[in-house]
Symmetry: C2
Subunit: 467 residues, 2 copies
């Protein structure tokens, strides 16, 4: 488009909105503070530079890796530089799984063979060192697997090929609808004697990236190797199988679990001036899958949580309650950091009033989801309904019940309200857990809007509490 | 993130919402139809494939070019294939400006010279064939230019270097705030004797793409060459100027205006079953700048408008009122297509009840803006307020007054309500009018959501009218 002069009207409307937003003077003051948070974040924010460093200078940060250790050291240093009152590390033992050599997969027919893009699922065991080769049984569901039973499955490689549902508007619903293949598929296939599992990558678009992610091994069943094929690879395999039911798949993986390793949650605080004992947590997870720079998952959430500290310090807001930025370790394959944090919080009898996690990508923010014990969650929701007009000028329209986040879940027991930032979800699974999750997948302004949204909400909670 | 089982709750909520959305049976029926529109669009939609063809197989489509002619022929063919009742072309004479050889710009100091990325503004005259070289005066505003006056400007190249305001949440506001430099800058600089103008590209991020766009020559003033530097190039020039006020800029451009050329608006209809005389227009513009594939600007809007025809035909909705998809020619440098369309509509005394334009990119839809004469616009807004719950499940929360779109503006005189699709605006100016505006800049799902949103609104208007 060229330029529609009528857009000018909106600018004027916006100004009026900030001057006379409601009849309440308090909300008018709050709208001014919130505007200053957004202005600072969009004009001088550090979120994107921090994320860029984490992605480009450090890179993939799987729990137990040397990069994860570097990320701990560097984020702690940055949080100090940005002016946090206290920065400390919280010890946590984490799994240490390594992928080993680049995996190989080949479709083998009598006439031909063809390599397909593949990666081991996180936590998988290796194949035999020479690789394995077996016929393939394609299924769409765990129920179908059960129906086929041992007679059809034994000695085969099970190929889970159910697509994520493109008609789900929220892509996390589509993920939830396909996730069981990756998580439960390997052990359920082993139950009927399968020798390995390959799944269709949990990705809504057709491309050549295999997407990893954690699996669950049932200890009472044999552990078999499990891998993800790219969506294009899965389509190809499925098409070949239509013409030749006796195709074989060759799979070679050398991944393994090493001994658990000492790692850390990174914690930074701004002490509350009036109610320092009341804690507001804001966090993301510092670990990422080994294939990815972990830009959207979840470098974005870390950079945004760090930015809350930066914005409060830059515009000199002295919060009445304590703000604690927590970069959790090991969300991806164990969630040990989140569990450890909650365990210590409860043991110390700390009073967490609210915890906000950003772990759905650094896309344009749409709203927040609220979780928690019924009473506190409902009280919080009615508070948020009152605050909603403060957020609408920034495109934040939705405050609803939903999931808070994996890392903060344990704080429910501490009677905290849990909130999850809800960004636009359309592009998330294009990148998630794959080598496509790089800094190029992140738009600077979208990331900054999310950071400022969280900081604004933290500001309101720090002033008014949660009750 | 791994997977938060609590997300499952949302899926159930969504289902309930569709079954019992409101007490009104009509809205319940409408919510079912709207869901079927979204389902079809997200699962079997043709918008992305059509856009991909337009971008990759045809490419840049500046008015008067052979590519623009190819785009007319191809979209008309596709609209027939997708089942429109009638497809026809509407003649319109359009400007035919050509860029000529790749432009050159060099910063020249006594010691050094450095090339910077540059492109002619659309409609600019050429430099002398050997190029021109002159000292540079950097200004931020037209007011500053006026203050400097002829004594400081004469014989110089004026460099307009005001950034788009990063604190504007809607990036179109930031564009509106910087647009005068490109549009009025060249003639205003000529008023004081400048020999050429370069502007900072209208882009919110720092990169190496020069962004073109139309300029306005005041016929009573000399026409001087005008170009855009990339944002990085503009920063570099500004920094060099701080150290050496006598820097020169060399600029060479060979663009020119050829004779006006015959082109076409592409029009496709589905005839209304009950009120065929009441017309609902849905459109985008088929021309693009010559530097770009015109994916976001405005191939996306064309693909979405074509998709309305496809969705109605695919799910066999027979609209009560006539739906007319119009792909307007020449929005970028003259808006002749839009003007011609309105002129003929008024001359024929056609009854346009509503016109919807998509010309703000194929990003996740956020809402619609409404324009029109006061009475009809207000009636429409109260109708939209009632329909809002039908759109919220799709992330469409905002129906407000604003600009409809450049191409449909003339229909205001026809007493039509004008609506503009409002997608998330954060990424738009990264691509706008530059060679970065390619199919890779478009996310399939985001594009499809926009198409289904427009189709759903068209469905409601076709059933209930606008009054």
């Amino acid at each position: 488009m060229i330029y529609d002069f009528q857009y000018l009207n909106k600018k004027i409307t916006l100004v009026i909105l900030f001057i006379f937003p409601f009849s309440l003077f308090a909300q008018s003051q709050d709208s001014i503070t919130i505007k200053s948070i957004f202005d600072e974040g969009m004009e001088h924010g550090k979120a994107y530079d921090n994320l860029n460093y984490l992605c480009v200078n450090i890179g993939p940060r799987l729990s137990g890796s040397s990069n994860a250790a570097k990320a701990v050291t560097w984020t702690a240093k940055r949080l100090k530089e940005m002016g946090a009152d206290t920065v400390y590390l919280q010890e946590v033992m984490v799994p240490h799984w390594v992928r080993g050599e680049k995996e190989q997969a080949k479709i083998i027919s009598k006439k031909d063979e063809l390599a397909v893009p593949v990666c081991a699922l996180g936590g998988s065991v290796a194949t035999e060192s020479a690789g394995i080769k077996a016929e393939i049984v394609e299924v769409k569901t765990l129920a179908e697997l059960k129906q086929l039973g041992e007679s059809k499955i034994k000695g085969k490689i099970v190929f889970f090929n159910r697509s994520m549902d493109p008609t789900c508007i929220n892509t996390f619903d589509a993920y939830g609808g396909a996730f069981d293949q990756r998580f439960y598929g390997p052990s359920e296939a082993a139950r009927y004697g399968a020798v390995a599992v390959v799944i269709r990558s949990l990705n809504l678009r057709n491309d050549d990236y295999p997407h990893t992610g954690t699996l669950f091994y049932n200890d009472s069943l044999p552990k078999i190797p499990a891998a993800a094929l790219s969506t294009n690879g899965a389509d190809l395999l499925s098409n070949w199988l239509k013409g030749d039911a006796h195709l074989q798949l060759y799979l070679k993986m050398s991944c393994k679990a090493l001994a658990d390793t000492l790692s850390y949650n990174v914690i930074a605080e701004i002490k509350g001036t009036k109610h320092p004992e009341e804690i507001i947590v804001v966090g993301g997870h510092l670990d990422s899958w080994d294939l990815a720079q972990g830009a959207q998952d979840d470098g974005a959430g870390c950079a945004q949580s760090m930015e809350v500290i930066n914005l409060f310090k830059s515009i000199k807001i002295k919060p009445e309650r304590t703000i604690r930025c927590v970069l959790f370790m090991n969300e991806e394959n164990g969630a040990k950091g989140g569990k450890k944090y909650a365990e210590i919080a409860i043991a110390k009898n700390e009073k967490h009033i609210v915890a906000i996690e950003s772990d759905a990508g650094g896309f344009s923010p749409r709203g927040f989801e609220v979780d928690g014990r019924d009473t506190v969650a409902n009280v919080c929701l009615s508070k948020l309904a009152k605050w909603k007009p403060l957020f609408e000028p920034y495109g934040i329209y939705s405050f609803a019940k939903g999931g808070g986040g994996v890392d903060i879940r344990g704080l429910k027991e501490n009677n905290a309200v849990l909130l999850g930032l809800v960004p636009d979800s359309q592009r998330y699974f294009d990148y998630h857990h794959s080598s496509a999750d790089t800094i190029d997948a992140v738009n600077k302004r979208e990331l900054e809007l999310g950071a400022a949204s969280i900081a604004s909400l933290v500001y309101l909670f720090s002033k008014y509490g949660v009750q």
